[in-house]
Symmetry: C2
Subunit: 435 residues, 2 copies
């Protein structure tokens, strides 16, 4: 897979590197007192942005390519949507307990500062060496590289129930999902007033981010559910091929090109023209916790598995083709006149007529075993972004839910949707167009 360019949609044309700390800047800062200067750059004395995580180290120990390991939090769009997928995720849904909109606004202001600091690999806050206070950063990511951390925020339908006088601001595309075939949804993995997607190339860093966001939210929001996920570690795949899901098949081949701005505007980014100005440049996210019936799948033949996906397992090529990215030929027939790609194959139903697309950003998960059956609780934390779920994700999933051959092997156990805010510039805060 080609590595698309860094998250840089928000950079002005004239200053293409505005959003990143350059390597030169890093070394310069480190050389003249690191922590203090960087504090200055991100708001001196602010509670949730602060000390450089590696501040205590001499300059020579700061990895030279650290800037390559940073995805800027700021930009026209939120990072973590068209950003090339990192290796790990913790997804979290929160319910808001704050009494007033002002508290919600404060929460997002604090979260914004914290998220921007963590994207740069900084320790949170400025009291990490005062023995008489709880440390402002929980510390488990201290000394680690930024690891391409991104944190992406959205609000769910329940957020607009009227508590905060925002019922009239609920965008029409932020609709509750209808019941789909194959749903066996559980409350413990569904819904939420706020959705937060944390990604990083390091699981401990992802955990650190979520934990500190939850800590910052104390008194304003509580965790409703979370789910950890992973892909193959990028360093273990020298070919850079499309990662495989836990059924052994490559997942994401058909994704639209995130470097194609026109395509992203069509598929991913909401527009003021869609109705709600505050969502201009945002995106709608659907999250589905999809358990795979691993033990059943593993007893099916390779032929059945390939017919189910409509692709060859080893190469990822469409059935009847050779290479992963060969064109999908749905008209091809075998010698008996039957379609080479079955009518209910996953790839055929998901592709449809080719005009409806979504941007998938899914992860595998493994969450121990089901105590009732002794079977693995593992599968896919499916995440997608689209401009309007009513026209993209929902009709696609309705078709899949009805007749996808995969349904024999999967069950949807969790579900949530969120309106993910547009990005913000430094000094602004996530949600500023709504609050």
């Amino acid at each position: 897979m080609d590595r698309p360019t860094e998250h840089n949609e928000g950079q002005t044309k004239s200053k293409p590197t505005d959003n990143k700390i350059s390597r030169r800047d890093l070394l310069r800062l480190a050389g003249v007192g690191g922590a203090g200067l960087l504090l200055g750059a991100t708001g001196v004395g602010s509670l949730f942005s602060g000390q450089m995580r590696s501040a205590a180290k001499p300059a020579s120990q700061i990895p030279e390519d650290k800037s390559a390991d940073i995805v800027s939090f700021y930009g026209k769009h939120q990072a973590g949507i068209t950003t090339p997928a990192q290796d790990f995720i913790i997804f979290a849904a929160f319910d808001v307990t704050a009494a007033a909109l002002g508290d919600v606004r404060k929460l997002f202001q604090d979260w914004t500062k914290a998220a921007a600091a963590m994207a740069k690999g900084e320790l949170l806050g400025d009291s990490n060496d005062n023995l008489n206070l709880p440390p402002s950063d929980t510390g488990e990511a201290e000394g680690l590289s930024p690891s391409r951390t991104t944190i992406t925020f959205g609000v769910g339908p329940s957020f607009f129930d009227g508590r905060y006088g925002l019922a009239g601001k609920r965008p029409a595309p932020l609709t509750d999902l209808p019941a789909f075939g194959g749903d066996e949804l559980r409350e413990e993995w569904s819904g939420g007033d706020i959705g937060v997607q944390v990604n990083a190339n390091d699981m401990q860093i992802a955990f650190h981010a979520l934990r500190n966001l939850a800590r910052i939210a104390r008194g304003k929001a509580v965790l409703r559910w979370t789910q950890e996920g992973f892909q193959r570690t990028s360093s273990s795949d020298p070919s850079g091929a499309t990662p495989r899901n836990l059924m052994g098949f490559r997942d994401g081949t058909g994704n639209p090109d995130v470097t194609d701005e026109a395509e992203m505007n069509k598929v991913v980014w909401a527009s003021a023209a869609d109705g709600m100005a505050w969502m201009n440049g945002g995106s709608y996210m659907a999250v589905r916790r999809i358990r795979m019936r691993v033990e059943v799948w593993d007893r099916s033949t390779l032929g059945d598995q390939e017919a189910t996906f409509g692709r060859h397992r080893a190469s990822g090529a469409p059935l009847g083709a050779v290479h992963e990215r060969d064109k999908l030929d749905f008209d091809q027939k075998d010698e008996k006149g039957k379609p080479v790609i079955p009518m209910n194959a996953h790839v055929r139903l998901a592709h449809g007529d080719g005009t409806v697309k979504i941007l998938r950003r899914s992860y595998s998960y493994s969450s121990g075993i089901d105590n009732k059956t002794g079977q693995l609780d593992a599968g896919l934390l499916f995440i997608c972004y689209n401009r309007d779920s009513r026209k993209q994700f929902i009709p696609m999933q309705q078709k899949l839910g009805q007749s996808d051959l995969l349904n024999e092997y999967i069950v949807h156990t969790g579900s949530a949707v969120f309106a993910c805010f547009p990005g913000v510039s430094e000094g602004g805060y996530i949600g500023e167009t709504l609050f």
Copy 2:
């Protein structure tokens, strides 16, 4: 942390590289038909060792440093004990359902072949392209590097209950653990006839290994419980420092030196002289699922946190010292005459008089939230190896359970012990000294 040498205890003195496929061998094999030759090397046609995972690739795509990414399964001792800790773990406990000892023996023979193949990054079995059969490998690790995969096997006290005529073979050090202070053990994370520790620098590869072991066990053993775990990703820590746990403190500083053979013989490896010849070269493992009361910890002051561990958070140094590996000075007093390292600090109790050691090999875990409280279910999957738990782990944990300052912030929710077999040579199988 210095990277100790590779797992090579079983290598004869005269042929120090016997256990590894050298880079030259790999390239040679790949150049002349890869899969077939390597198949030959590991047992042609055997069910659970087989195709090179990267067999379909041209030689040029095989990573040049692949051999550096392989920890040999074979050796005097099992890999995964003194092997430098990889980034990820899936620990699994199985209960045996086989009717006869012969079936158990067959299970371990099949597991041995599979584990040896996975250590080399090979696809399992020889039917991964027959459309009419279930693939012999589930496929999700295809094309990935071996990622230092190790798989370590042991048997628990319940295995010796007489079902298989082995009651007389139960080693005295394999004793059930007594109740410790701080225990709130749950059946769902405790016990097991067999314990399997899977480690790799890639979570998807670790999952693949466990899943295929469970598949091979069908009809002979069933999963009882599993727990995923992680550390910081090694590539995100350029300093190579001791990893931090989820309390933000470095964990493992006091571990004995795994490159010191005499020390390992004293601390880790069981000996025939201890009573049971079949455990000669094996080790006793204790596993504890320790939940951290993260939210409580995060409200305590840095001073309290450092007093609890007896170390400085940022540096990892003992209280009153500067560097992580500075000598522990338990006699040092502050200006008021109080011990600088408190009497009940974790490091003081765990250190004791310095004569009793264990080899810790623990991982952080994050398993969603506790649905009853909304708090994070996160903590430490503590694993240790020792020569005799009755003289090492048990008395150490009894002291900690009674008075460790940490007890305010942790609760032990799972527990198991296993006698981990000695290693085997190629052609042998894990457990051969017992079965």
